[in-house]
Amino acid sequence: MTLRYHPHTPEDVRAMLDAVGASSLDDLFRSIPARLRLGRPLDLPPAADEITLLAELRALAARNATDHPPFVGAGAYPHHVPPVVDQLLLRGEFFTAYTPYQPEVSQGTLQALFEWQTFVCLLTGLDVANGSMYDGSTAMAEAALLATRTTGRKKIVVSAAVHPEYRKVLATYLRSTGDEIVAVPFGADGRTDLEALARAVDGSTAAVIVGYPSFLGVVDALPEAAAIARKAGALTISVTAEAVALGLLQAPGALGADVAVGTFQSFGNGVSFGGPAPGFFAAKEAHLRQMPGRICGATVDKQGRRGFVLTLSTREQHIRREKATSNICTNAGLAALASTMHLALLGKSGLARLARLNYERAALLREAMGRAGFRPVFSGPAFNERAFDVGDAEAVVARLAKQGIAAGAPLGRWYPDLPAAKGALLCVATEVHSPELVELFARSVKG
């Protein structure tokens, strides 16, 4: 039996070889020197028919404990994705299309991309957004690079409360540019220490980066940080990993951010063991030509009908090559489409309600944890994520894992010098955590 993906019958192959004038399939590879040929079968598991394949992969998936929604966020947020999103996303015309190089037959992808860009601008309060980035961390790294190009300066000041994974990625991206990264500590309330920030920011600072909300779940002092940055002629970059927060919190653009980055994973995309998800990149109009990534624009066709095309492509690698703003080619199109669909369903009232619901569930968690004897580590205002002092965070996580519950992220892993390093457990509560589940969780943590 031939593989179902290979339609060629032996007759087809013969007829085609004849047309080509080759005597065998191997003949077609004569340009590969014989000594470079593999000459043996690949050492891979034997072919599996679909029934075997599905059984095997189901068994593998079943070895992941996902019966209970996780209580951990820390950059990947468990939310409810309406089934209608997946069903629309699976339409083959969206799913199996590629980059819209031929706009006439890609208007579906392009209009949806224009809608994504608009959603990102509306939620961030900024002027322009691109067609998505790989993820939040690389979006942040690219924003830092934009700031160094635009200001001509070489120092990036980043709050230690920004997602540690994102900060590691920033360090990797800036390794060979000679740019300096300076971290500013946070205070007992979990917000960036503004005095330390003011001391760190000077005429050599290209950008100040602040989480909004931060990795600690705290709504950080974005307006104050932006004022400090502005005074020194630096750009302000806000970083949002939990995009639902933008349904409740003031837009970063309205609070002084010049660039807003992060991920829209919370909209339409499951956690999927960490990827893929759509990074977003929004900025003030002035930074348009320095923005990385693909951008969709509106125009008209020959008959005057409105349509959409990829535009401003001369920033990109396929034209500028070594002078491009970035090397990004493939982005996160499908993940961005899922977010666009989910946001379309939510709409104005739905998003506000979803955000409010998240806040309320997190408040219930705080109360339940409080009754169980666990206090918040930070006093700063939070959205849906909060660190609680549970005594021994790693032990709690290990114990609850046996019950199939992913309890939270032990902050001591990233912040070993925190006073509450041993006990701090970062927990999230979203619309998928019912009040009963929240209650049960708090009691489980207590043990």
Binding site: R289, T311, S313, T314, I319, R320, K323
Partner: protein, 128 residues
């Protein structure tokens, strides 16, 4: 294709016109035709220094980016700012309204080694 006589030409398809001791610079008709619709042009600021043979800016169509190379060295004394909002002028009138910068030359003799219209025409015909 236009090859006016009152300018001199570079191998990178820029033209130079002497005007009262200064040099007006732009790109040729051949250049704009090769590029297609110009959508964006990046020019230096008044006061910037330019050096013969070095890049002083960039002109873009939707599918190509071309650097602009200074035909003479000197100081930029005027910049055609309206081109930012109307880059199509470069396509429509490359030798007049589509001028890009005016340079106060540091060494006017540099312009003497540039091609005249006949030589440039021959050069272009060779390219095609």
């Amino acid at each position: 294709m236009n090859f006016p006589d009152d300018v001199r030409y570079t191998k990178d398809h820029e033209w130079v016109r002497a005007k009262g001791g200064q040099f007006v610079v732009g790109i040729t008709d051949f250049a704009q035709d090769q590029l297609g619709d110009v959508v964006f042009v990046e020019l230096p600021d008044v006061g910037d220094t330019v050096k013969k043979g070095e890049s002083f800016g960039v002109v873009e169509s939707t599918k190509a980016v071309s650097e602009l190379f200074a035909p003479v060295s000197g100081k930029v004394v005027e910049v055609n700012d309206p081109l930012t909002d109307a880059p199509e002028t470069i396509n429509e009138d490359p030798y007049e309204e589509g001028w890009m910068i005016v340079v106060q030359p540091s060494d006017p003799k540099e312009a003497e080694s540039l091609m005249d219209a006949a030589a440039y025409r021959a050069f272009v015909e060779e390219q095609e």
